[in-house]
Amino acid sequence: MLLISIGGGRGALCIMSHARDVKKGRSPVKPSTAYLIGGIIALVCVALGIYYLIPGINHVLADPPQAQHIKHSIVFFALAIVALVGARFAANAKASS
């Protein structure tokens, strides 16, 4: 019971600190979290970019579905780069606040 109440108290403090950060305009995201989120988004985008490059499989939201779609791939690769760059900026914003 003591451990649960301490955990609950720490959890409440974390939530309050987060709310304070958001209110003061600071990025609430830790640097490591920013890189993690950015990395995951980048990986998903790279995977989608490769998916649209592979001919012979049925591509969603593409016409014709089985052709190579270079435009789709370019957009997703660009999104991956933006996600990584965004993560770096978010991490630096938190580190400097």
Partner: protein, 324 residues
């Protein structure tokens, strides 16, 4: 490909792409009115589309070249440093470039994934006419709403424009909209581009993706979105044109392979069309940037409503067999 049609389409593209009247809508409606459906469906039309887009994009780059130089320099500095702080980015150009990139992403993604389907579903002239009417209504509503917000703001800080505001609000009859806009501008209502957040830029970008519906103007809807977050007409127009440049440029560059295999005559005609579109676009953006210093979207709204209704009536009459 008839040279006269090429010239007319190029002029149409160059002007309508930047004016808030929907170039895609006009590209669907006018050939429908003039019976040019065969041109739009022909393979020779594709090289023309590429050069028209490239011409328009080059016109925007030329007009805003100083801005792009500042933005790119600022962008490189913040990219290397990894932050937007004043020591790295004193004038905020790097942050503005980031805002343009964030604003471009939604439209780029939605365009690549859904453009073909949307044009197939909504590319009929009668639907384009309906969306053009909607475009006019949105422009008009945005102007009324923004004007009302400006007047309320002016009233709340008790400036001289309060008198105008009180009369306008109570009587329901506005004085000249341009007078009210100018008076309310004195009330320091407008948010600057520097104050825009990335979420706001993304929302404007999402609004831009609505322009995939033929009849909804890209520049109009992005200006409306910009004005809704507090940008002035001029700042909203500037941001709209900055957002448009990478989208239109990418649309042209990615389609360049379609130029290969086209005959020399078609390529020459397409290039002439591109030059005409570029010149028309340059003159249009020059006019519009001056126009939006003091004036509103109202005339374009009325044009879209009127033209949309007329076109809708025409196509409906055709559909019902009342017209050939």
């Amino acid at each position: 490909m008839d040279p006269v049609r090429v010239v007319l389409l190029a002029l149409l593209q160059g002007v309508a792409e930047l004016f808030p009247v929907s170039s895609l809508g006009h590209t669907v409606i006018i050939p429908g009115l003039l019976g040019w459906g065969d041109l739009l469906r022909s393979d020779t039309f594709l090289p023309l589309v590429v050069t028209l887009h490239l011409g328009t994009a080059l016109a925007l780059l030329t007009f805003f070249w100083r801005d792009w130089v500042h933005l790119l320099r600022g962008g490189v500095k913040v990219l290397i440093a990894g932050r937007f702080t004043p020591d790295v980015d004193p004038h905020g150009y790097g942050r503005q470039l980031a805002l343009v990139i964030v604003g471009t992403l939604p439209a780029g993604l939605v365009g690549v994934l859904f453009q073909t389907k949307l044009e197939a579903l909504f590319g009929a002239p009668i639907l384009a006419a309906s969306f053009l009417c909607m475009n006019g209504a949105v422009l008009l509503a945005a102007e009324r709403l923004t004007r009302r917000q400006r007047l309320i703001h002016a009233q709340s800080i008790n400036k001289s424009s309060v008198t105008l505001g009180a009369t306008a609000l109570q009587g329901g009859a506005y004085r000249s909209p341009d007078d009210i806009t100018r008076a309310a501008d004195d009330a320091e209502f407008d948010q600057s581009l520097h104050e825009m957040s990335f979420v706001q830029a993304a929302l404007i970008g999402l609004a831009q993706s609505l322009a995939l519906f033929p009849g909804i103007s890209r520049s109009g809807i992005t200006m409306v979105a910009g004005m809704s977050i507090g940008l002035s007409h001029e700042s909203a127009a500037r941001f709209s044109f900055l957002l448009a440049t990478p989208i239109i440029l990418a649309a042209g560059l990615l389609e360049i392979p379609k130029l290969f295999g086209a005959g020399t005559q078609i390529l020459v005609l397409a290039l002439i069309g591109g030059v005409i579109a570029g010149v028309a676009a340059y003159l249009s953006v020059r006019f519009l940037m001056r126009y939006f210093e003091t004036k509103s979207l109202d005339p374009f709204a009325y044009y879209c409503l009127g033209a949309g209704l007329l076109a809708f009536g025409f196509f409906l009459a055709q559909y019902l067999g009342l017209l050939p």
